[in-house]
């Protein structure tokens, strides 16, 4: 009996142990799905119903945009604004409509602290707080070079040149320009903001001038920690002169064609500067078909032939422009549709005082023309944050 009793306890222990094992293994088959599946998301598969449902949470406001000239809007109280003169220094407006462009009162557009970001999902209209966004952009000047690169996200965070060929027009003279890289080496380190480019003048007889390759054009603007007044390098394509200018100096100077400031390349015309220079992206229509893997496969050497083959005739019929206003609302119009349609998304806008955020959304235009959206049906919702 003693022997049995001793041997019985391990068996009891083993039995309980095994039973407990099965019990907990069974329980482990469950998982914490509580709270999931109950979430509802407003999607924007087509702009119609969902968009209007979301926009109903905002205040409708109609803006009649003329074919020529600007109109101004104040967001609080919501209404049209009258700006008699000097809109660049006026605090009477928050948004300006000009053709299919929308400006905010900040950056190159005005002296205010306004800005914008978008597009964001329509579901943002449901909340009373601003959606989480990476940044708010003040309006900046930009034009033909605005999409010279393709951005590769985390973890690489690199800017890859698309190797497009750009035309830069100074009077009757046209130069072709290709950006080779945004990176260079200095002080023993590889740093961003150092451009390599190649350029040459294209002549009416179909020939091209000497191709010049420049390295380490300094667009670092003093680095990330530098104040906004730090200079960056600007280039005169005719003389080859390279000048360090601040953003404000560059806007008042005629000593350059192209100015390099961090990832932006400015053209000295319209909003960019006083010299009347205009530019065009010869391959703008290819943009939608490009993807990051294809762009990463390109090299300066492989794209040299494309640059060499561009000639005066390549730019015939192209629309050259100086820098215009680029805001966070730059993509608010779907230009692939006829007539143009507003994109089914929301935008975050900061007023000219820099203190209040608004969500904007747009219903289809009423009576659009080729030069203006006609009547813009806008929905405005103030949000916290």
């Amino acid at each position: 009996m003693k022997k049995n009793a001793r041997s019985g306890r391990p068996r009891l222990a083993a039995t309980i142990f095994a039973a407990a094992t099965f019990a907990v293994l069974g329980a482990a088959a469950c998982s914490d799905t509580a709270g999931e599946g109950a979430r509802t998301t407003v999607t924007s598969t087509d702009g119609g119903t969902d968009a209007l449902t979301s926009f109903s949470l905002g205040t409708e406001f109609r803006v009649n945009v003329p074919d020529d000239g600007r109109v101004y809007v104040k967001l609080s109280p919501l209404g049209m604004a009258t700006v008699e003169s000097a809109p660049e220094t006026s605090s009477a407006w928050d948004l300006a409509f000009e053709g299919f462009d929308i400006a905010t009162n900040g950056g190159v557009s005005g002296a205010g602290k306004g800005g914008s970001f978008g597009p964001v999902d329509l579901v943002a209209f449901v909340a009373d707080t601003a959606p989480v966004i990476p940044f708010i952009s003040a309006d900046r000047a930009g034009g033909a070079f605005v999409d010279w690169y393709m951005y590769e996200g985390a973890p690489t965070h690199a800017l890859w040149s698309r190797y497009h060929v750009f035309g830069v027009k100074d009077g009757e003279r046209i130069f072709k320009v290709q950006v080779l890289t945004y990176y260079g080496q200095r002080d023993g380190a590889t740093i961003s903001g150092l451009y390599n480019i190649r350029y040459a003048e294209v002549l009416p007889d179909g020939s091209s001038g000497t191709t010049t390759e420049l390295t380490n054009l300094d667009g670092t603007a003093g680095g990330a920690a530098a104040p906004p007044s730090s200079p960056s390098e600007c280039l005169d394509l005719v003389t080859g002169a390279r000048t360090m200018l601040t953003e404000i100096e560059a806007r008042a100077s005629s000593a350059w064609h192209l100015c390099f400031r961090r990832q932006s390349i400015s053209v000295n015309g319209e909003k960019g500067g006083p010299r009347g220079i205009t530019a065009v992206d010869l391959e703008e229509d290819k943009m939608t078909g490009e993807n990051i893997d294809a762009v990463k496969a390109l090299t300066a050497a492989s794209q040299k032939s494309k640059f060499d083959s561009a000639n005066y005739a390549s730019f015939a019929g192209r629309t050259f422009r100086g820098d215009r206003v680029i805001s966070g609302l730059d993509q608010w119009v779907d230009r692939t549709k006829t007539p143009f349609l507003p994109v089914d998304s929301a935008w975050v806008v900061v007023d000219q005082a820099g203190t209040q955020k608004y969500l904007l959304g747009f219903a289809p235009f009423e009576n659009p023309t080729t030069r203006s959206p006609g009547t813009v049906v806008m929905y405005v919702k103030p949000v916290k944050g």
């Binding site: 989480v132 023993g188 590889t190």
Partner: protein
């Protein structure tokens, strides 16, 4: 053995060795069954008023651990998330009852550890070479320990030498990836006077990220520790001890980046932390089991993290300094069935963080330095008291209260009421209800992370309040026989005023958005555990535990991120043949919510170890941790799987004198 137990109480900082010997009423077979952290009084772990789990150094070594993080990573009731709060292989933070970062208090011999990384005390920086055991108390324990004891307390306890004359211990271990562990302790005791030296060194190569790149997913690491301890008796009733330790952790991360048109370049990411601790303890025996203890402490923690391009000065370096000076006195008054513990702790902390950037500009290298956390000084005074009242052998009631008075934001009071009922010798039923709190950190109060160039800043806020919680715990232990023990428990916590960066309510100043730390979070956690330990045979011991965890972020109406709901742990220890020992440990962790779109995958690990006694108190051993080679996937957000994958190790450990004096 009574001497060992007394020594354990002494090391735990509760009383003098002499007094401990006098007051020991616990008939402990093993000093490691005595716990002190839950009540600040010595109790047998199975009959303690507050549930306290113990991991001894021997058990930690059986688990293949070289540091506290590894010792606890398969402990039931906790999760250790390596690298969850920094780069992979970085800080190993512990999670108890669904709380982590600064909501679990880490103590060394009862003193808070300073020098967090992103809010987490890096448990992998704490070697196990000189420790005796680790005690884990779950649930709010602020009534005794103050700030950060919301989820629980981990107390890492060292021990003074026990034997007369010279004694020592050594362990040498080799691991794959050129891993080397060397631990040694030497001490000498003559009567009541003793001194000891502890050294620890560990290094391991990092883990590569991708085959074709030099990048390291886990950096090369080396960790060193040197400690000296000494104690003596000034009179029959007064003991004094001094303890000094220096920890140095170094990791060398490496990453490569591609610069289109230029090629790849290498960025070195070294991190170095130096931590010094100095404590002076005086214990006075008041007689009849009562005592008075004074502790004077100072800690320094300096850490530097850098990101520099190889062979260049371009990069950035972040320096953090944390200092703590503390004075604590605690009296234990034994009065029959009532034991009073009352004390007061005063401490001053200094914290600063600066960032130095070196950039290449058109005029040459330019350096700039900013204070990311403006140097700050905190002061606090905290009186506390607790009564342990035994009503016979069957009921113990334990009310306690601690008040905290902070120089920056006022006062907080944290009560706790606990009770243990032992209707028979086989049953022990415990319940407690208490308040936890966490004081805002220096970073949360004074941080400036300026990314204006990218349109945002993250800022501290001076008007933060402490986080507060209420927590309830209950468990039942049934000693089915001398060989089988079953235990089940549950807990619930409600936490208010959680501090976090309030992304949803940023304020704009032009195109720059400011996001501040605010008290806006609310959360609940609920859990249950069941475990069984059994001696199947005199040479076969097994444990099986299941943990369930439910969490809810009441603001986002989602589970808290990275909290696995189900965990199963099982272990078997066998000594089938004389002088041989075999050990297996299995852990299954369920998949867990990370974000609405992401879950961290479930995984299981199996650790195996065999050892053979070479001579008395010496063993050669070898093992494999993480046999299934489960490891994190590069770039996967919130991946809670182990970073290192499978590890092989072999080693020798020995203690002397080799012959144990009975």
């Amino acid at each position: 053995m009574r001497t060992e137990t007394a020594a354990m109480l002494c090391l735990a900082g509760l009383t003098s060795a002499r007094n401990a010997r006098a007051q020991v009423q616990v008939k402990a077979r093993d000093p490691d069954t005595v716990v002190v952290t839950g009540t600040r009084t010595p109790e047998q772990s199975q009959r303690s008023t507050i549930k306290t789990d113990v991991v001894t150094r021997d058990e930690a070594e059986r688990r293949g651990a070289t540091n506290v993080a590894e010792a606890l990573q398969s402990q039931p009731g906790v999760q250790v998330n390596p690298g969850a709060y920094g780069y992979l292989g970085g800080p190993s933070a512990i999670q108890i009852q669904g709380f982590d970062l600064q909501r679990v208090l880490i103590l060394e011999d009862g003193e808070p550890v300073v020098g967090d990384v992103g809010g987490a005390i890096d448990l992998s920086s704490l070697p196990i070479g000189d420790i005796r055991r680790i005690e884990i108390v779950t649930g709010p324990t602020s009534a005794l320990y103050g700030s950060s004891a919301i989820g629980g307390v981990v107390n890492i306890l060292t021990s003074p030498p026990i034997k007369e004359g010279a004694s020592g211990r050594a362990r040498v271990e080799g691991r794959n990836r050129f891993g080397l562990l060397a631990q040694g302790n030497g001490s000498y005791r003559r009567g009541d006077t003793w001194a000891g030296v502890d050294v620890n060194f560990m290094r391991q190569d990092g883990v590569g990220r991708l085959a074709k790149l030099p990048d390291l997913q886990v950096p090369d690491t080396s960790r060193s520790m040197v400690g000296v301890r000494a104690g003596t008796s000034l009179s029959d009733k007064i003991d004094v001890r001094v303890r000094a330790r220096w920890f140095r952790d170094r990791s060398d991360g490496l990453t490569s980046k591609v610069a289109p048109g230029v090629g790849n370049y290498i960025i070195d990411t070294p991190t170095e932390t130096n931590r010094f601790t100095l404590h002076f303890i005086e214990s006075i025996d008041l007689g009849k089991g009562s005592s008075l203890r004074f502790t004077l402490g100072r800690q320094w923690s300096d850490s530097t993290t850098a990101t520099t391009q190889r062979d260049s000065a371009v990069g950035e370096k972040r320096d953090r300094e944390h200092r703590m000076q503390s004075f604590e006195t605690v009296g234990t008054i034994a009065n029959g069935k009532r034991t009073w513990v009352a004390g007061v702790r005063a401490q001053v902390e200094d914290f600063s963080q600066s960032l130095e950037k070196t950039e290449s500009t058109s005029t040459g290298l330019a350096s700039s330095q900013i204070e990311e956390v403006v140097p700050r000084r905190f002061g606090s005074v905290a009186p506390y008291a607790q009564l342990q009242w035994k009503f016979g052998d069957k009921l113990t009631v334990l009310p306690g209260l601690r008040g905290e008075f902070y120089s920056l934001y006022g006062a907080a009071a944290t009560p706790r009421l606990a009770a243990a009922v032992r209707p028979t010798k086989k049953w022990n039923i415990r319940a407690s209800f208490g308040r936890g709190f966490r004081a805002p950190s220096a970073k949360e109060l004074g941080y400036t992370f300026d990314h204006s160039i990218y349109g945002y800043r993250i800022l501290g806020a001076d008007n933060l309040r402490p986080e507060t919680s209420w927590g309830a715990n209950a468990d039942v232990t049934f000693q089915a026989s001398s060989k089988v023990r079953l235990r089940a428990g549950t807990f619930m916590n409600w936490v208010h005023d959680l501090i976090d960066i309030d992304i949803a309510n940023g304020t704009s100043e032009g195109t720059v958005a400011d996001y501040r730390y605010r008290n806006f979070g609310r959360a609940r956690t609920f859990g249950a555990q069941a475990d069984i330990t059994a001696d199947f045979h005199k040479n076969l011991h097994g444990e099986l535990a299941y943990d369930y965890l439910w969490t809810r972020d009441d603001v986002g109406d989602q589970p808290l991120s990275g909290r696995p709901p189900h965990t199963i742990t099982a272990s078997l220890r066998a000594t089938p043949i004389d002088k041989f020992e075999a050990y297996a440990r299995f852990r299954l962790v369920a998949d867990a919510y990370v974000t609405t779109d992401t879950r961290t995958p479930g995984y299981s690990t199996l650790d195996l170890r065999v050892g053979r006694e070479l001579w008395k108190k010496s063993q050669a051993y070898g093992g494999i941790t993480n046999l299934f080679d489960v490891h994190q996937t590069q770039g996967r957000v919130g991946d809670l799987r182990p970073p290192l994958g499978r590890i092989f190790y072999v080693g020798i450990r020995s203690e002397f004198p080799w012959e144990e004096d009975e």
